[in-house]
């Protein structure tokens, strides 16, 4: 299989704080990779480095067979990105924002307009196409972000909690979109804290813990290596977390007026 992304011994520090402590990662065409880990494990840092939002890293990142370095921008044309906390120019309308983004990716205005209109309609938010984004609901906003990340037909997608705020029907549509994209040879990095979803859609799961990769393999492989049954439990086990019951009990006792 064609390798889309190769990361070799990636390190990154902020000041004295080491965030990534040597990551090796390979992603091939058509893979949906569940990219999980506790808060602060370095997930979004990795994505930011790949996208060139941050620099000064150690090791190597290879995208589409080429190493990324300073002043390389063309590879970004083949990447789509839905950030977790997304900034949007929300005083623009959906049409204005999407065509703007499309044009930045090199699409013609008409092409971007047609595409974004159809995609908005398919996603059930066609009527909001010409309204200001500031008036959108959380789910509509999320759909807009998803469309903005796909409008230029990228080969590699980074999705960070992409179904945040979507209703159950939209989630089903979105999962189907992911499956279809993967079948069309797109590579998808899916980052989420909702383990059930990750477990179901991912063809491979990578667990990041404390700046290192703690597990890498299909869900079946992970299950074979660990005694626990669900991805949630495997996650707990790999990150060495067992106190949930104890903490939960204490929490409720404080809620009821008890002492710590």
């Amino acid at each position: 299989m064609e390798e889309i992304l190769t990361i070799t011994n990636l390190t990154k520090s902020y000041g004295n704080k080491e965030i990534l402590k040597g990551i090796d990662l390979h992603a091939a065409r058509g893979e949906i990779i569940g990219y999980i880990g506790p808060n602060g494990a370095g997930k979004s840092t990795t994505v930011k480095l790949i996208l060139g939002l941050e620099g000064d890293f150690g090791g190597e990142i290879k995208l589409f067979g080429k190493s990324i370095g300073q002043d390389q921008i063309d590879y970004k044309r083949r990447i789509g990105y839905v950030p977790e906390i997304a900034d949007v120019y929300d005083n623009l309308t959906g049409y204005e924002y999407l065509t703007f983004i499309g044009q930045l990716y090199g699409l013609e205005l008409e092409e971007a307009a047609d595409k974004s209109k159809s995609l908005m309609e398919l996603f059930g938010v066609g009527e909001a196409y010409h309204s200001r984004i500031s008036s959108y609901s959380k789910g509509m906003r999320q759909k807009l972000l998803i469309i903005a990340s796909l409008i230029h037909n990228p080969d590699l997608l980074f999705l960070d909690e992409p179904i945040n705020g979507l209703d159950a029907n939209s989630v089903m549509i979105f999962k189907e979109i992911l499956t279809q994209l993967a079948a069309n040879g797109k590579t998808i990095f899916y980052s989420s804290h909702i383990m059930d979803v990750v477990e179901k859609i991912s063809s491979r799961i990578i667990l990041l813990y404390d700046g290192k990769i703690a597990a890498d393999g299909t869900f079946a492989q992970l299950k074979a290596d660990n005694t626990e049954g669900t991805l949630e439990r495997i996650f707990n086990q790999l990150t060495g977390f067992h106190e949930h019951q104890e903490i939960g009990e204490k929490f409720v006792s404080v809620v009821r007026g008890g002492q710590l």
Partner: protein
Amino acid sequence: MTDFKTLRLLDKFRWLFIKMGIDYDMMRKILHIKLTMDERKVPTLFNQNKKKDNQKYGYIKSLWIYMLFGLILIPLMGFGQNFLFQMSIAFAMIIFLIMTSLISDFSSVLLDVRDKSILSTKPISAKTINAAKFMHIFIYLSYLTLALTAIPLIVSLFTQGIVFFILTGLEILLMNLFIVAITAILYIAILRFFDGEKLKDMINYVQIALSLMLMIGYQVLIRSFEFVNLDMVVSFHWWNLFLIPMWFAAPYELILHGDTSLLTVIYTILAVIVPIISIWIYIKLIPTFERNLQKLLSTSKSKKEKNNRLKSFLLTIVCRTHEERAFYRFAALMMKQEREFKLKVYPSLGFSFIIPFIFMFTFSRGEEVDYASSMSYLNIYFSMMIIPSAVLMLGHSAKYKAAWIYKTLPLKDYTDLQKGSLKAFLIKLYTPLFLVLSIVFSYIYGIRIIPDLLAVLVTSWLYTIFCFVMMTNKLPFTKPYDEVNDAQGWKILLLLLPLGLLVGLHYIIASQITYGSTIYFIVLFFINILIWKLVFKSKK
């Protein structure tokens, strides 16, 4: 989306940008979007009844105030040959106005963190993004500078000649570069050492100071034309080296007067070299800047809440119920921490402090005042001018949507919320101001006026509740600021009228009745308690 004339003008310089290695078409698209968004700075959601072009050229329309300020420059730039003095003053004014407006209006452009995640993930070079950012500021700065200097420049073309005109034009360009670079470098320095919240606070304070200065400046200007004396002779001293406006004034002496003394030459060189160096430093620092900009997103360090026993005790006296105290604390925090509220109210707070003095000196001009017997201390009443607008603003908040919590709380009615926030305003904002004023006035007029001051203080409480009753929106922090409209502006003006009556009443009582002020104070005090009780009669 319509095309912009400004951008069409910019198209003529396309070759220049391309030569610098900038993707012009991409930059134009970004600028187009940015300008479109600027037009919409007022969210139309709440302004739909307004006429469309009202908002469209909002910024351009706000420029007339700068044109007005520009008129002051006419005597300085248009007449006289004492260039070093005149032009130093003129440039000092221009630098001050442009820099403060840059900080208050364009900080959002310089510090827009959305750019990073939206634009940097797209295939656009950093150079192009930065060029777009720079041109965005440059376009607005050009509007501003033109508004400020166009009229004086044209006058000077006729009175001082073409050389002066060209020289001034060039210098203003250099100065603008200097201002942008210096402001950005200032931000870089602040971001390097402090976190983003601190920077936002600092910008907020600059904005407050600017509005206050414009308010006072206007008052002082109409009264100060006699001060202008163009015959001042200024000579160079070595310490003038730090007076930046003087650098820009020196070239006039050099070129128009042929003064080739060492300092003139040094200043002229500085005026040319320093802006260029500063812009070069800025360009070098852009990557650092971009990195530190991320700090704006990060959470700031948390402060530990101090618990003062005396304060909590006093608060139990002021606010009787538990809920009222909670709302008092909440309102006090909102007034202290919401930047938009501060921007709207604090300048008038400062103005309220100044206005009694302005009235005092205006009315007593040319006469000897016997401070031991004069009753002009009643001007202190005009410090209450802040009360109507503050009470109005109290109903508004940038985070007005968060008011949903009021509805989910198990409250019988909102009287505690209203009482608590009004008291918070009186105690946290108005009373400190009044106390300082009182101390100054007692110093000027003697302690004999203390009963009067007490009467004024209780009047202010009464006046506050009166203003509150007149407001249509009575729930604190529940409306967006955009909803403050002209009708409410008129209402505030109307609410100011009773102030004159109150002064008259106080004057009559204090001058006609022995111990009038003391009696007045005691009567008012009890009326106060009664009225507050009546207004906030709990609907049980």
